[in-house]
Symmetry: C2
Subunit: 284 residues, 2 copies
C-alpha cells in the first residue's frame, strides 16, 4: 500500500502527520491526518480512535481545533482524522454548496448517479481506512473507537451501529441523529441515495436503531443548548426516544449556553477521550 507522507510534526511527545494515498474505494487520491503517540512512534500498537468532522471541514480541522491531542497523548491513543468527502471527484456542482458534495460526504456510499462513482465514504470509513491503519501504520488492534461532530457525529453513530464489533466505542458531539427527517440530511440523501426514502434507513442512526441495530456499549453524546442547529437539524431527542425504546445504552448530556462550534467541543473533549480510552482498554 502506497502511503505518502505530506507532513509530520512533533506534538506532545508524538507526531501529527498528514498522509495521502490512492483510495481504491473512492477511486481518487485521499488524505487523512493522524496523531501517533510516542508509543506508536516506537512501533508499539496502541488503541485507535477515529475522528469524523462536520460540514465544511477537512482532514485537518478536528486535530487543529478540538484540543484533543493533549488528552490522547496522555491516554496513549492514536487518532485518525479522515477527510469529510472525496475531493476533486469531478461531479458537476460538487463545490457549489456547503452541504452537498465536497466536504459533505455524509460518510455513506452514494448509489445515485453522478455521485455513486466516487462518493463512497461509507466503505472508506468502514473498511479501507481501518485496513490501511493496520497495514501501513503498524496497528494490530482489531477494534477501534469512533467519534464525530455534527455530520461527523452522524457518521460515528451509523458506523458504530452498523459494525459494533469493529467500532468498540462510540461517541458524538452535536450529531445529526436522524438525517432522513431534517433538511441537511434530506438534501444529501436525496442526491446520494435517490428520492426513495426507503433506501435511506441504513445510513440513518435513528432508523438503524428502529430496525433492530444496537451497540452493546454506552454511546456518549454531548449537545449544546445554544446550538443554532439543534431544533432544525440535529434533534438528539429523536435518538433519545428511540434508544430508550430499543434498549440502546445512551448518555446524552445537554450543556446550557454552548453553541455548535469547536469552542464547545474543546470544553467536553476530555470526557470523550476518557470514554474511548476506558472502553478500548488504553493503558494510561
Amino acid at each position: 500500500m502506497t502511503l505518502t507522507t505530506i507532513s509530520s510534526q512533533a506534538c506532545h511527545g508524538g507526531a501529527v502527520s498528514v498522509f495521502s494515498h490512492p483510495s481504491s474505494t473512492l477511486g481518487l487520491e485521499a488524505r487523512f491526518s493522524v496523531f501517533q503517540p510516542a508509543a506508536a512512534l516506537r512501533g508499539e500498537s496502541t488503541p485507535v480512535l477515529f475522528l469524523l468532522a462536520g460540514l465544511t471541514c477537512t482532514h485537518e480541522t478536528f486535530l487543529q481545533k478540538s484540543t484533543i491531542i493533549a488528552h490522547a497523548a496522555a491516554e496513549n491513543l492514536m487518532l485518525v482524522a479522515p477527510d469529510t468527502s472525496p475531493r476533486d471527484a469531478g461531479v458537476p456542482g460538487e463545490d457549489e454548496s456547503y452541504d452537498l458534495g465536497s466536504a459533505a460526504g455524509f460518510y455513506l456510499d452514494a448509489t445515485n448517479s453522478p455521485w455513486s462513482d466516487h462518493y463512497r465514504m461509507g466503505s472508506y470509513i468502514a473498511s479501507e481506512l481501518p485496513d490501511l491503519i493496520r497495514t501501513a501504520l503498524g496497528q494490530t488492534e482489531s477494534r477501534f473507537g469512533i467519534m464525530g461532530h455534527s455530520m461527523g457525529g452522524h457518521g460515528a453513530l451509523i458506523h458504530g451501529l452498523r459494525a459494533p464489533d469493529l467500532w468498540h466505542s462510540v461517541s458524538a458531539l452535536a450529531p445529526i441523529v436522524h438525517p432522513s427527517v431534517v433538511p441537511w440530511g434530506k438534501k444529501a440523501f436525496a442526491a446520494y441515495l435517490g428520492e426513495d426514502a426507503g433506501r435511506w434507513a441504513e445510513w440513518d442512526a435513528v432508523s438503524l436503531l428502529d430496525s433492530g441495530k444496537r451497540h452493546p456499549r454506552e454511546i456518549l453524546i454531548d449537545q449544546g443548548m445554544a446550538d443554532q442547529f439543534l431544533a432544525e437539524q440535529l434533534r438528539p431527542d429523536l435518538l433519545e426516544t428511540m434508544a430508550a425504546r430499543k434498549g440502546q445504552p445512551l448518555k446524552l448530556r445537554y450543556h446550557e449556553g454552548y453553541d455548535h462550534s469547536y469552542w464547545f467541543i474543546q470544553t467536553v473533549i476530555a470526557d470523550h477521550v476518557a470514554h474511548h480510552a476506558r472502553l478500548l482498554g488504553a493503558p494510561s
Copy 2:
C-alpha cells in the same frame, strides 16, 4: 469607549469573544479576541495575560490553535489576543509580502513614512489596549502578563523589558530575540524605522538588555530544535548570552524534534500558563 461585540461563544465555563473598536493609536478600527473565564463573566477582576501571535496570524490564531483556553480557565486567567498589525491602513504594498505590512506589525511604532501614520502597534499594546481592557471589560488589575510566539515572542520580550511594572510576567515561544541582526527584523525595521540602525535598539530585546533594561522576574522561553527558523531568524543564543552578561533571569529550554508550529506551542503551553499564573498571583 465604544466596544463592538463581533461574536461571543461559550467555552470552558467562560466565553471567547471578538471585539472591534476605533483605535485612536492606530487611527483605524481594530479587532482583538478575549477569553473571559467564568469569574470575569460574573464581573470579578481576574489576572490578565496578553497573547501576541506571529507573522501571517490574526487576533484569532492564538486562541484557536494553542489549546491555551483549558489551562487559562483552570487558572482563572483572562486572555487578550490583539491583532498582529493594523488592517486596511492603505499603505502601498502592505499586503504584498508576509513579513512586512499586514500581519507583520512587529509590535512597534513606525517612525518612517508611509508606515508611521497607522503602524503604531507599539503604543497600542503598551497603552491603548491595556487601558481598554480595564475600562471596557471591568478589569482592575494594574499588572498584566505577556506571552508571544515568533514575531509575537519578540513583542512580548520588548514590551516586558520596556515596561516591567505593567508587564509583571513575560514568556515567549520560539521568539525573534534580536531583530536588528536577522533578515525578518532588518527588513521590517528598515521599513518602519528607517535605515539608521541606531534607532532600532529600543524595539530589540537583546539591544534593550544591552542598554541596561532588565525585567526583575524570570523570563520563560521555549524553543524547538527542529524549528526551521532557529538559526537564521530566531537566535535565542544571542539573548541567552546577553541575559547572562546583564543578570537578566532567564529560563531558556530547548526541545529536540519540535518545529516552529502551534503543534509545538500546544506541547509546552501548560507550563507558560503556570508561569504567568504563579507570577500574577492567580487564584487557581
